[in-house]
């Protein structure tokens, strides 16, 4: 308790302020970021489950085995079955090739179906969200089926041998937005499928087996592990992560940025803590000498300081945890208005992370600074010149770096991120020591020719060069880290805005026949809509691989072996695509007999195709041979047409082709889709507007979160600068007070401080630009997958911001020297 008493008295005496604030800030930054990141992640998982309408799905072309369902029942796992297929629906003389989905009554297991009794409505008050599907004998349909079949709600439609009554309009399905079905949706009850008599053995249908965990999450995990062993080649397991790749990538980048911001916060607060601790320890040496002169043994002194550090760590961390919690709540309350999803509560991990940050920061930065104190000789009470030397700065630095590296790794789980930040900081520190020293010397020599203020100030900087360098490392480190964050944030947000511009394409028009192309174009143009350009494609089927005909087993294993594929051609690698294996083609001779083909890398893997494999295609009965020459990744974010199979120009143009495009259709002109479908029933329309709206909402909310986070980190930066400024303050105030006593003017004293600090700030800003540019290059390349770009503005703003900020802080701090009588200043030191 004595240690706690001493700590509280020291706190009251004001010597602990900087250490405590650094600690609280480090912990609160990390806690709020972790809380946010975890809650967003949990929300995302829940959201993805909703997109899947379940926690886990098995897609298959065979009905679900009864054994799976029985086992699920034993494990308390909730299940539901669903079958989807394309079939004609009729009403009197009208017909439409609809996307039929038959669901059991407990569908969806996750998420909700939005329905309405008013077609084409966007009015939320007319839309109802329910967690069940249509009753037997009823059907819920896409609004556009009504004009397509000339029906109204309450009319009957025929499907196979059964008659279904249209009772609701589907506004949104949780697992809608699928690419595989192109017709209007007809949702019916599972029980009516048999009566319709349209699903026969061998029919082209897709079964889905939906699973959701009950109360026991472990039982669910156990069941899914068991299930994985039961899967055959017909079955494909779909997890929530795969369900919504585009939202996941946006959120993932957002989360990475939060991590980056948090990590930078930790490093900044760590530097502040290191500087503050150094300063604090210097103020404790006399006290320790006194304690030892009273006969307190070194071991007791060490124990007292260790206990105080522990109290400080626990207390500071607890305050930090609550501040961090408050901050994350504040962030959430600010973005709540734009929040499309409720954020679930976080688990224990963010709290552990926060607490660990506090204790580790203290262990890495404060303890090494205090370590030498017990060795202070008691004789120091009589002789000021006898002082124990602190632990060497190299060792202290090593502890600090180890603590930061450990924290960064644990926290970000990313070696690249940790390395980039450490490298950026190390480079800045190294540059500071080498270049900074040269600059200080240059300043001192050049300063001789300038006015008295400049001469004195630049001389002072050189005289105190080791302190100046430590301060410069602090300043430049803080500025560099802040610049890294602003640069990454800006480029991320720009990229998102570009991707999800207001008029980003939200509809795809596919399967437009050559003779329909002009008509469809006219219809689109009449509405003053712009397309992303028309892409030609031919539809072909794979018939053989390496001379071997496609087997039934292969057909069962993957959809692409049994259906027609969209084949297109291009001379240039499409924007956003990246070659993963092989080479992109140059000029290809149109007389060549084996066509080079480029495959999307995931489909290549799923189909078991590799470079050099020969694929035989059949296009409208005509056979041609091709060879896989490269694989590539696609960019799904930019909402432009993407192709799994691409050929060079001049090889496929002869075959019967269709066209496709993507375009933005504003909500008010949505009925164009119906006009189009009524006039050109074979054209397929893929609607992505709802998904895009959702992504846009999430992006805007993540962006807002990032803005606020940036502010929090900026405050960390200011704290570091404050700590660095206060480092030399007592010496400066003493000198200023002496100058003041000797009759120096206020102008001279403040002028010297202004020149000293702004010079330090400008130099630090310049050095920071070096470190920041290096780290940003690494981050852009490895972590955010953003294009490389230099940032000339940081070379300008770095020195200016550094000079202004540090100068202002320094002068603000030094004002005491000119407003208070010199004797009072000297007495207070």
């Amino acid at each position: 308790m004595q240690a706690l008493k001493m700590l509280l008295r020291t706190w009251r005496g004001g010597q602990l302020g900087l250490i405590v604030w650094s600690l609280v800030l480090a912990v609160s930054v990390v806690t709020s970021v972790s809380l946010l990141a975890e809650r967003i992640e949990r929300a995302l998982t829940a959201e993805s489950s909703a997109f899947l309408a379940a926690d886990l799905v098995v897609r298959s072309n065979k009905p679900t085995p009864q054994a799976w369902i029985t086992e699920a029942g034993l494990q308390g796992v909730e299940t539901s079955q669903m079958v989807s297929f394309a079939s004609m629906v009729y009403h009197q003389s009208d017909m439409h090739l609809a996307s039929i989905k038959a669901v059991q009554s407990n569908y969806p297991l996750r998420g909700l179906i939005k329905r309405s009794t008013t077609p084409f409505t966007f009015d939320e008050s007319l839309i109802e969200a329910v967690n069940y599907g249509p009753a037997p004998g009823e059907t819920w349909v896409d609004a556009r089926l009504l004009p397509l079949l000339n029906i109204e709600l309450g009319d009957n439609i025929e499907l196979g041998d059964t008659i279904l009554k249209v009772t609701q309009i589907i506004v949104e399905e949780p697992d809608g937005g699928s690419y595989s079905f192109f017709g209007a949706r007809v949702l019916m009850n599972w029980g009516d499928v048999a009566a319709a008599g349209i699903v026969q053995p061998g029919s082209r249908v897709t079964y889905k087996y939906l699973m959701a965990s009950g109360a026991d999450q472990n039982a669910f995990t156990g069941y899914s592990d068991w299930l994985k062993d039961q899967l055959s080649i017909h079955d494909r397991l779909i997890t929530p992560d795969e369900a919504q790749a585009s939202i996941a990538s946006t959120m993932d980048r957002g989360r990475r940025f939060l991590l980056l911001a948090g990590s930078i916060g930790v490093v900044l607060a760590g530097i502040a803590l290191a500087l503050a601790s150094h300063h604090f320890a210097a103020g404790q040496t006399q006290q320790v000498a006194l304690l030892k002169s009273w006969g307190i043994p070194a071991s007791r002194v060490r124990s007292l300081y260790l206990q105080q550090s522990l109290w400080l760590g626990v207390g500071g961390s607890l305050v930090g945890l609550s501040v961090g919690y408050g901050f994350s709540e504040l962030l959430i309350s600010i973005v709540r208005e734009w929040l499309p999803i409720a954020l679930p509560n976080a688990g224990i991990r963010p709290w552990i992370t926060g607490m660990a940050t506090g204790l580790l920061c203290l262990g890495g930065f404060t303890l090494p600074s205090l370590w030498h104190l017990p060795a202070q000789p008691p004789l120091a009470v009589l002789r000021q010149d006898i002082q124990v030397a602190p632990v060497s700065s190299a060792i202290r630095g090593a502890f600090g770096i180890a603590a930061v590296a450990g924290l960064l790794l644990w926290y970000s789980n990313s070696v690249y991120l940790s390395l980039a930040i450490l490298a950026g900081f190390a480079l800045t520190a190294l540059a500071t020591v080498i270049i900074g020293l040269a600059m200080l010397r240059l300043g001192k020599n050049y300063g001789q020719r300038l006015g008295s203020i400049w001469r004195l100030a630049l001389n002072n900087l050189w005289r105190r060069r080791s302190q100046s360098l430590i301060q410069m490392v602090g300043f430049s480190g803080a500025i560099a880290l802040l610049m890294i964050m602003v640069v990454v944030r800006t480029s991320l947000i720009d990229e998102w805005r570009f991707q999800l511009a207001e008029d980003a394409p939200n509809h795809f028009l596919v399967n437009v026949a050559p003779y329909e192309l002009d008509g469809v174009r006219d219809l689109v143009n009449a509405q003053n809509l712009e397309t992303a350009g028309w892409y030609a494609m031919v539809r072909g089927r794979m018939t053989a691989i390496n001379g071997q005909p496609i087997t039934e087993a292969q057909k069962d294993s993957h959809e692409s072996f049994r259906r027609e594929l969209n084949l297109s051609w291009t001379a240039e690698l499409p924007e956003g695509n990246k070659i993963t294996e092989g080479q992109w083609w140059g000029e290809v001779d149109s007389a060549t007999t084996i066509a080079p083909v480029s495959l999307e890398d995931e489909i290549a893997e799923e189909l078991g195709l590799k470079l050099g494999d020969r694929i035989t295609f059949s296009v409208g009965g005509l056979i041609f041979e091709s060879e896989v020459v490269n694989t590539r990744t696609l960019n799904w974010d930019n909402m432009t047409p993407n192709f799994y199979f691409l050929f060079p120009e001049g090889l496929l143009e002869e075959y019967p082709r269709t066209s496709m495009t993507s375009l933005y259709i504003p909500p008010k002109q949505k009925l164009l889709v119906n006009d189009l479908l009524r006039k050109y029933p074979t054209v397929q329309v893929i609607e992505l507007d709802k998904i895009i709206d959702r992504i846009r909402t999430i992006v805007s909310q993540v962006t807002r979160g990032l803005e606020i986070m940036t502010l929090l980190i900026l405050s960390c930066g200011v704290l570091v600068m404050f700590a660095a400024v206060s480092l030399s303050m007592s010496e400066r105030l003493q000198e200023s007070a002496i100058l003041r006593t000797l009759g120096s003017s206020r102008r001279l004293i403040l002028g010297i401080q202004l020149v000293e600090f702004s010079t330090l700030g400008i130099m630090a800003g310049l050095l920071a630009a070096i470190g920041a540019e290096a780290a940003v290059v690494m981050l852009q390349y490895f972590m955010f997958d953003l294009p490389f770009a230099l940032h000339p503005w940081i070379w300008v703003t770095g020195p200016i911001a550094g000079g202004v900020l540090v100068g202002a802080l320094g002068v603000g701090y030094s004002r005491k020297a000119v407003v208070q009588p010199p004797l009072e200043v000297l007495k207070s030191l």
Binding site: G13, W294, S828
Partner: protein
Amino acid sequence: MIEVSNISKQVSTTEGTLNILHEINLSLASGESLAIVGPSGSGKSTLLGILAGLDLPTAGSVSLNGEDITAMDEEGRATVRAGHVGFVFQSFHLLPGLTALENVALPLELQGDKDALKTAAYYLKRVGLEHRTTHYPRQLSGGEQQRVAVARAFACRPTILFADEPTGNLDTGTGEKINDLLFDLNKEEGTTLVLVTHEHNLAARCGQRLVLAAGRQVDQTAPKKKAVVKKTVAKRAAVKKASVKKTVIPKAKVKAKTKAKPKTVAKAKAKPKATPKPKAAPKPTAAPKSKAQGSKR
């Protein structure tokens, strides 16, 4: 109480070995006072540091209370310091973040004294600062700060008090008052006093004087009167009793003290002979108000 035999102190510098102290001998009985005088750089503070067990001589030995502290390790010397030694410094060495009361209480608290604050308040009252207990050092004048330091030194009931130029940072008037206080308390508590000073007045009030010049002992005035240990101890106990009557002091403290001392109370009323009691000295238990207000800033 203090036996010093043939101590020397040498330090190595770039220009060779420097003799700071050369074969110093002295002997001081319990309750006596010694002034170490000499010009700046004569080795006074070095000698004080060695006597107090803060530093070690290059040769020779120092015994405090019969224990040879030069043969001990730092832990051993720390134990001796904790049990017997108190300090008053030229630059006060008060902790800036602590109030006057807390500054006095700190060493007691570190010794595990449960009544530290009560004892501290008692000693602050004895130095006439009972109205300044919650003030921080920066709010006190130099003289007041040194009185707090004196209270702190006596609060631990040391058997030997070392004072390093206790009035060196104070003006003559304030310095005189501190000296009075130091000698009064010394007399009342029966402490052995060793002080380093430049001031002849102060040195003259001590029973012994050791004059140093360039590290050599050039003069040592023999004690005017042989101090008798038994007498001194008896005197201390008597003063203690007297103060119990006058002021409320922590029970535990009184018990501890009285238990430790022989119960020769009867002779205790005898007037102290070792040093004349200065008339001007403020009564420690009831400092005049005018003085207190005068020092308030």
